[in-house]
């Protein structure tokens, strides 16, 4: 298949641990099959920063800061089908644990009270401001398909991607879905 006919895909890594992208790489030899049909554009794996217009946008991670929201909205504009990859994107998951605390407490814990920190201060420049609450991506943009899991295993990712490539929405049931 020529490069032009390939389905263009971009992936982004918001507030998450990168485990979902690792799980994506766990497709192993199936990656060879996948890249016969798919062209990966901007992605933490390819290191291309600017998101071009693509067919499928895949999102790992929750929206934790203003940059996350910006990247998410950009991807939504640039893609036809948006896929939430993993529990952080879908539920907020572990990053959302900080929602129990006031933002000031969270920042102080991270930048000042950390055991290894000496004379720390809360940054005001360069790093994007945190959102008051960590939120899943469907609270910001329309999501077309979900791949639950923390992380979703390679089989779940393979199932979802092959379904999407076949023009179908992945359907989940007790045989193929996991939240853990």
């Amino acid at each position: 298949m020529s490069e032009k006919l390939k389905v263009k895909v971009a992936t982004v890594w918001l507030g998450g641990c990168s485990g979902c992208h690792m799980s994506f790489l766990d497709l192993d030899e199936r990656l060879v099959e996948l890249f016969k049909l798919v062209e990966l554009t901007a992605s933490p794996i390819s290191d291309l920063k600017d998101i071009p217009p693509v067919d499928v946008g895949i999102v790992e991670g929750a929206v934790c800061n203003e940059e996350n929201a910006h990247v998410l909205k950009t991807l939504r504009k640039q893609c036809k089908v948006l896929v939430a990859l993993g529990d952080c994107a879908i539920t907020g998951n572990v990053p959302a644990l900080r929602n129990q605390k006031d933002l000031g407490e969270v920042l102080a814990r991270g930048y000042i009270e950390t055991e290894s920190t000496q004379a720390g201060e809360i940054p005001t420049e360069i790093v994007p401001p945190l959102c008051p609450k960590v939120r899943p991506i469907q609270e910001f943009v329309k999501v077309d398909a979900y791949i639950p899991g923390c992380p979703p295993d390679a089989d779940a990712i393979w199932y979802a991607l092959t379904e999407l490539l076949a023009g179908r929405k992945p359907l989940w049931n007790e045989t193929n879905v996991r939240y853990d």
Partner: protein, 600 residues
């Protein structure tokens, strides 16, 4: 009983009047999804997963709380119900902080997670509320994380209806509703919690969890061994969950005719969630200190030390926890050790002897309308029996009269509770007034009914019940297998110093088996340490370290409860199996095998 006929999903189903739609459907093999329902508990109708359509009713109804009506047409599955059930699950998931990867019930032990899988919930359409909720880790054995609670009230109903303690309830209103302990206290500070752990078994999510089991392995992936709790003579069925030859958790066996899944703290937690120092190697005292040796060497040391002794100079003091099979061994080795005694609880020896015919006691407790406890304290020793009594008193208005030697947690539920001393005519009049008109009274007596005061009280009591319906009299011993062992010819001893004096003993073998405190309770009788010290040679056979070890010349490692096999006979006369859940630790060996290799 009036029978009903319903059409459920096109199938003609028969039920009885008073049954719910869910009960009729389940009995007919039609599965309806549920979350807040438990068949042992009263209907709640809180989660709305079990909704069904009933012909003639516009709105779906919760099948768990809707009585089946004759001739009604019920639909349990269609697109609308499926849509509504998914909606319910989405609302449940978005309401609190259900973060599967950090939950101890992750990997399939959570009914909410499994429902999510079953209904293919992949994303939630509602904004998550992310409430900041507390976690109560003050409980001795269990934790309560409100973040994972779905307010199904299964814990509340279990605590109220099965354990009868009513420690848990629902506090606040609406979205702020929360399970509360006592009057919004904590498990650590609770004055009513019995630590039975039934709430944890009932919890469908990870809101209530066993602290010692959390993150030690998914129950779903554990091996399960069904065995019998050997902590007291009730003989509750246990399901021991193990992984990699270690215990992950212990729950009650729902199929057991004795406890029907319910346990008390002794069987549920004390056997595995409390650290005990295990003895795993034979040891022989050399130059004043115990040194680990091989089994052959330990046995040789015993033979060498006892070679010159006559049968009558050797004593064997055994625990009442030994199995029926061990009793056969004891009979076999009798010629070489003539003085065999079984140490039991205070005043318990007089309860032993003829065990009488086997009978089902639990149905009697279930139906009783009055309980008289004489010298028995099930709240301390046989919690599952205490639970039945509390439920009967609180739910059915049964009367409770207690005559004991010390205070009991059941006193608070009693109509009359008194020590056994100084009872006058007015007292018996009050007892008679309480018991008047009771048709199914039960008299439960324990070891402390065997004192002269207890026997006198028993005589008085038996005359106090209405003449035309005397009580079912139930003996409730304290020691696991004391009745069956004594019936098999092992003499029960509750005065140990007298036993020591009754024969010209020069060597004694204490077989404590797997007693929790390593058999050290025999030292409670003040003279016993001196009696042991006066012996030329002391052998201790035990699973756990204790103060007794210091008094022994040879120490032999016995199997723990989780490694034992054989049978014990409970207070009803039921022969119940012990099945090993773990392989023996270290060099530990079966009690009967050890006795046989020394004395046979």
């Amino acid at each position: 009983m009036k029978t009903l006929t319903l059409t459920i999903d096109g199938k003609i189903c028969a039920g009885a009047a008073g049954q719910t739609i869910l009960e009729v459907a389940t009995a007919s093999g039609i599965e309806i999804p549920t979350l807040c329902h438990m068949k042992e508990l009263s209907p709640w109708g809180g989660c709305r997963m079990c909704i069904v359509e009933v012909g003639g009713i516009a709105k779906p109804v919760p099948s768990c709380a809707t009585p089946a009506a004759d001739g009604s047409v019920v639909v349990t599955k269609n697109e609308r119900l499926d849509r509504l059930r998914k909606l319910t699950l989405e609302l449940l998931f978005s309401e609190r902080n259900h973060i599967c990867p950090i939950c101890p019930m992750n990997k399939g032990d959570c009914e909410l997670q499994m429902s999510g899988y079953k209904f293919g919930i992949d994303g939630i359409r509602f904004p998550y509320l992310y409430p900041a909720l507390p976690v109560d880790l003050t409980g001795k054995y269990l934790g309560l994380d409100h973040n994972r609670c779905i307010l199904c009230a299964r814990c509340i109903r279990t605590c109220d209806e099965i354990e009868g303690a009513h420690t848990l309830d629902l506090g606040n209103r609406g979205v702020k509703s929360q399970v509360i302990v006592d009057l919004n206290s904590t498990f650590g500070a609770s004055t009513t919690c019995t630590h039975c752990g039934a709430c944890v078994s009932a919890c469908p999510t990870g809101a209530l969890f066993d602290k010692n089991a959390a993150f030690h392995g998914a129950l779903k992936r554990c091996a399960q061994v069904r065995t019998t709790c050997a902590e007291c003579p009730v003989g509750c069925g246990l399901v021991v969950y193990t992984m990699d030859d270690r215990i992950v958790d212990v729950f009650g066996d729902g199929d057991s005719p004795v406890n029907r899944g319910h346990l008390c703290v002794r069987g549920r937690y004390e056997t595995w969630a409390v650290k005990r120092e295990r003895l795993t190697e034979p040891m022989v005292r050399r130059n004043g200190a115990l040194a680990p040796v091989a089994w052959d060497e330990a046995l040789a040391a015993i033979r060498a030390a006892t070679r010159g002794l006559k049968s009558g100079e050797k004593g064997l003091l055994v625990s009442g926890r030994l199995t029926n099979e061990a009793a056969e061994t004891l009979a076999k080795i009798r010629p070489s050790v003539s003085s065999v005694g079984m140490y039991v609880a205070e005043n318990e020896a007089a309860m032993c002897g003829d065990p009488g015919a086997a009978r089902d006691v639990f149905p009697l407790l279930q139906e009783a309308d009055a309980f008289v406890l004489l010298g028995a304290d099930p709240a301390r020793l046989q919690g599952v029996v205490a639970a039945r009594i509390r439920v009967a008193v609180r739910k059915r208005g049964a009367k409770l009269v207690m005559l004991n030697v010390r205070s009991s947690d059941l006193d608070a539920y009693a109509d009359i509770s008194s020590r056994m001393v100084g009872l006058e005519r007015a007292f018996w009049k009050r007892v008679a007034d309480v018991l008047k008109g009771r048709r199914k009274p039960v008299l439960i007596y324990g070891p402390n009914a065997m004192t002269s005061l207890g026997v006198a009280a028993m005589e008085k009591l038996l005359k106090t019940f209405d003449a035309d319906c005397g009580p079912s009299v139930i003996g409730l011993p304290a020691t696991t297998n004391a009745l069956a062992l004594s019936a098999a010819g092992v003499e029960a001893v509750d005065d140990l110093s007298r036993w020591f004096a009754s024969a010209p003993l020069r060597a004694v073998h204490v077989c404590a088996a797997d007693e929790p405190a390593g058999g050290a309770r025999i030292l409670r009788e003040r003279e016993v340490a001196g009696c042991l010290k006066a012996m030329e040679f002391v052998v201790l056979q035990t699973a756990y370290f204790s103060r007794l070890v210091e008094l022994a010349d040879v120490v032999l490692p016995a199997l723990a409860w989780s490694e034992r096999s054989g049978t014990i006979t409970n207070f009803e006369g039921r022969k119940l199996p012990l099945r090993p859940a773990l392989t023996p630790r270290g060099q530990a060996r079966d009690d009967a095998d050890i006795l046989e290799s020394i004395y046979a």
